[in-house]
């Protein structure tokens, strides 16, 4: 049992980090960023290049991933999303744009980094073993803690910094924020950059454990969508809760339902559908009306 919870917590920490960026972008711009998973993969490949190819330290790799992705995010918002949002009649049109960007990044990743699975050497060796009740490799513990630290830093930033508060105001009510004198364009761009950066950092962190390959983008996006739906779309605490819940569900589900084999994921997904059908705002989303 302890092992299952430990696994769930570790998975939850990494999921939460992935979901955060997505929910931030969604709350600010009402854009469902289909390319989030690709950004995550790109972050992983950048860290891989820095660490495995250039032989530089792991933390530097994460830093570079975060920065490059932030730059890219800012560019994507300014030159792609902003003009399209401004001119499209239905704002869902941005979904096509986001999907186009996802395809584009897939193509770029394939051309730049190739088709193979990539990984970097373990950052810490050894396995924590508590009497065979909890077995957890040290590198997982380190990465899990780093992910938690990133989540905490993000929350603090959103709560206490000027920029963070401005972005929260923007997420609450775009028009009101505009009236209050918040520079909507500037903070949208900033928020997008921050969201992309979180994806990059998540990718960089996880490349040390799970490795990275170009196929992970799409499925990661979809998983992240599910997490933010569980927690409530556009709510930061919701994304974190959603990440941990999905992590727990997988961990517990895979163990409890192991006897039934093939249906484990079917049950997870089906129950998710039922849950969302009856509680669409998720756990922490604002109730309707």
């Amino acid at each position: 049992m302890e092992q299952i919870i430990a696994n769930g917590l570790y998975l939850g920490a990494q999921y939460a980090l992935i979901a955060l960026g997505l929910t931030l972008i969604f709350s600010l711009m009402n854009v469902l960023n289909f390319a989030h998973g690709q950004m995550y993969v790109l972050g992983g490949f950048i860290t891989y290049t820095v660490v495995a190819q250039l032989g530089l330290p792991f933390l530097l790799g994460i830093l570079v991933s975060g920065l490059l992705l932030a730059l890219m995010g800012a560019g994507v918002e300014k030159y792609l999303f902003r003009p399209v949002v401004a001119r499209s009649v239905r704002e869902e049109s941005t979904m096509l744009l986001a999907a186009g960007i996802a395809f584009f990044l897939d193509a770029v990743i394939l051309l730049l980094f190739g088709e193979k699975q990539r990984g970097i050497p373990k950052i810490v060796d050894g396995v924590f073993n508590w009497d065979f009740r909890i077995i957890m490799p040290y590198d997982r513990i380190v990465v899990g803690l780093l992910a938690l630290a990133a989540v905490a830093a993000f929350i603090l930033y959103m709560r206490y910094s000027r920029t963070g508060r401005a972005m929260r105001a923007l997420a609450q009510d775009r028009t009101a924020a505009q009236l209050m004198g918040v520079d909507v364009n500037r903070y949208s761009m900033f928020g997008f950059a921050l969201g992309a950066m979180l994806a990059g950092v998540a990718g960089g962190l996880l490349v040390s454990i799970t490795g990275v390959n170009l196929g992970m983008g799409g499925p990661t996006s979809i998983k992240a969508f599910m997490m933010i739906m569980i927690g409530g779309a556009g709510v930061i605490s919701g994304a974190i809760a959603g990440g941990f819940i999905l992590g727990m569900m997988e961990s517990v589900g895979l163990t409890v339902l192991a006897a039934y084999g093939d249906v484990t994921y079917l049950i997870i997904f089906a129950s998710l559908m039922v849950f969302l059908a009856f509680r669409p705002q998720g756990l922490m989303g604002k109730p309707w009306g």
Binding site: R90, F103, F104, A233, L266, A277, Q281
Partner: protein, 339 residues
Amino acid sequence: MTLFKKLLGVGLFLALVLVLVPWLIERSGRWDFYYTLTSVALLSIASAGVWLTFYIGRINIGQGAYALVGGYVSAILVTQAGMNFWLTLPLAGLFCALLSVLIGLPILRLRGVYFAMVTLVLTEVVRLTALALPITNGARGIVNIPLPTELSLFGLTLIPDFGTLANPKLAFYLAAVIMMILSYAVLYRIVHSRLGHLCRSLQQNEELAASIGVNITYLRILAYSISSFFGGIAGASFVNISQSIYPSSFQVVDSVNFMLNCFLGGLGYVFGPMLGTLLLYFGWDLLFTTGKYQLLIYSSLLILLMLVLPNGLLSLRLSRKAKQPAQASPDKQPSGATP
């Protein structure tokens, strides 16, 4: 548009797809275009369904699920009950429509991304169900499905046996195109009849629609089941071209593509999904000579198109006329569910 112009347009289109295209293919010898265009026709039927759910203000990323279900229904009826494919086609559609009523009742209360997400999950649920069920033959899929056989009524051959045809490609093409034309005729009629107006009222303001006495639950279910019907027949037809079906025959990617087809063509235009499918599918095919840069070029073009025409390709036609947005955003606020 006057009636004459309308008829002329329809006539020209029919001549184009039923006569000119086959003639051009015969002349140029590009036989492979038959299959490509058949696919476009069938996929655009499924996309038409997605478009209809857009028309009631729902982003539907679950059409792949119904295409898969439709495919399996047809495959199972043909291989296990020995039914004629042409009879399984409407049955597949009806089965999907019924299924969509059951699924739609709870989930159609959701709006915006919430609905979108649930439908996305639906596609995965159906794939996993197909893997788990015995009747679908699980992971091994259903293969060796015979070609459509003759359909006759009182000894009169309505549709010949595809297995004995000299050119089944042409037959499949014509069948698919005729189905597409019928589907879009239905869609056009829906949109331009009262049902369509009511759908539009739903898209713009569900509460007000309810308060003027529109049974919004019923209407949502109706539109969604028509949509799923389209998905079902498209899926069933595909299965009989590939003569096989696997749980992966229609998956999340397909659901997403159906939705993108609608966006690309334009959500405000009945024929948008048809054009969108043609461009997205055919575009990929045409770019095949660019080798490893195919995806790069394809996605770049997609992004460019979006930048130039954020409201879909058909908005081009509109911008020539007086700017009259045929469609405005429903409430731009992200809303959850109706009570």
